[in-house]
């Protein structure tokens, strides 16, 4: 059949192997330099160049690029840093902006035609971002309150003493164990599922086209239309997940800095 030529190399039910991208340039470099590594480098380079160029020659009436950069920074400074942490939050604004832009750009690979897989669909990248946030909020908390007081505020809720033995393990688990895990898993799972869904509908279209019955072949168009529509949904999720990640990071920092009441 002629349609045989159109069928992509991957088998129809896509599985988890899709997420282990091949080595870049040379097999000997695997796993140290994969497509993911390369994409991350590109996004870092793009970010650096973008902000350098945008702020190279700042004007009172900003140029288009300067306006974009200032909008992104202002959003993170006012809505995220100040909104979640308070006036102390301003000094975290540069980190939060960097985090937001980095996650947004790396997520964006999920819908860039020809690439269509985000490095964040691989657990290593979200996990490391979560580790940074985890170290950050514990560090600022300990630096502000001191080791003992920080853990006293974090672990001991205002409650009668006889309930405390039940509550303290819950506080410990939700603050020090679940926070980094949920932070990493939320981003990873969204990007993983997004890539999987796009694969299923795109490859599913080819599988339907390759079917023997002429009644089934046209259904492949429906499958590809779904893939397009879901790419639109992915665009939304990409922005939302970057936002959620910085919101939660700043909320954890805010919680660590909060005074006891």
């Amino acid at each position: 059949m002629t349609t045989q030529l159109l069928v992509p190399r991957t088998d129809f039910p896509p599985d988890v192997r899709e997420f282990f991208t091949p080595a870049f340039f040379n097999d000997a470099l695997y796993p140290w330099l994969t497509k993911f590594t390369f994409y991350v480098w590109i996004s870092v380079a793009l970010l650096i160049i973008f902000f350098l160029v945008a702020y190279r020659n700042p004007k009172m009436v900003p140029t288009r690029m300067q306006w974009m950069a200032e909008s992104i920074y202002n959003f993170n400074r006012e809505n995220v840093a100040k909104g979640m942490i308070g006036h102390e939050g301003v000094k975290f604004a540069p980190y939060l902006t960097t985090l937001f832009c980095f996650i947004l750009l790396t997520n964006l690979y999920g819908i860039v035609p020809g690439i269509q897989i985000s490095p964040n669909a691989h657990i290593a990248f979200p996990a490391f971002l979560a580790v940074i946030s985890y170290v950050l909020f514990n560090y600022v908390g300990i630096r502000k309150h001191g080791f003992v007081k920080y853990f006293r505020i974090a672990l001991i809720p205002p409650a009668p003493w006889y309930i405390l033995p039940i509550l303290i393990p819950i506080e410990f688990a939700s603050t020090f164990i679940f926070r980094p895990f949920t932070l990493a898993l939320r981003l990873f799972a969204n990007m993983f599922a997004g890539h999987m869904i796009l694969l299923v509908f795109t490859l599913g279209g080819f599988a339907l086209l390759g079917a023997n019955s002429w009644f089934i072949k046209p259904v492949s168009l429906v499958s590809w239309a779904m893939a397009l529509a879901l790419t639109g949904l992915e665009a939304l999720i990409i922005v939302l997940q970057a936002y959620v990640f910085v919101i939660l990071t700043s909320s954890y920092v805010g919680g660590a800095l909060a005074e006891e009441h």
Binding site: G83, M84, G86, P158, L167, P169, I170, A173, L248
Partner: protein
């Protein structure tokens, strides 16, 4: 009760803080069930009680989680962060 609620914290207030509180509440609830359910499961394995301790632990943990949500997240809770 909702009408005269004065914002104790100038921060947040809008959807961002709302979403954040939702995550906190969820993590307390799941955390409570997971932690005490796990303790119950360990007791079950130790004493061969066949699941009853896991059930008690999960319920106890859920209760503790709800208590923490009320204490930490209620509008005028003293321990609000």
């Amino acid at each position: 009760m909702t009408g005269d609620r004065t914002p104790q914290h100038p921060r947040g207030g809008d959807e961002a803080a709302g979403a954040n509180q939702g995550w906190v509440a969820l993590s307390y609830l799941i955390g409570g069930i997971a932690v005490w359910g796990f303790v119950g499961w360990l007791i079950d394995r130790w004493l061969h009680t066949g699941g009853i301790a896991t059930a008690i632990g999960a319920v106890l943990g859920a209760a503790g989680g709800v208590y923490l949500i009320v204490r930490r997240l209620a509008p005028h809770a003293e321990g609000k962060r």
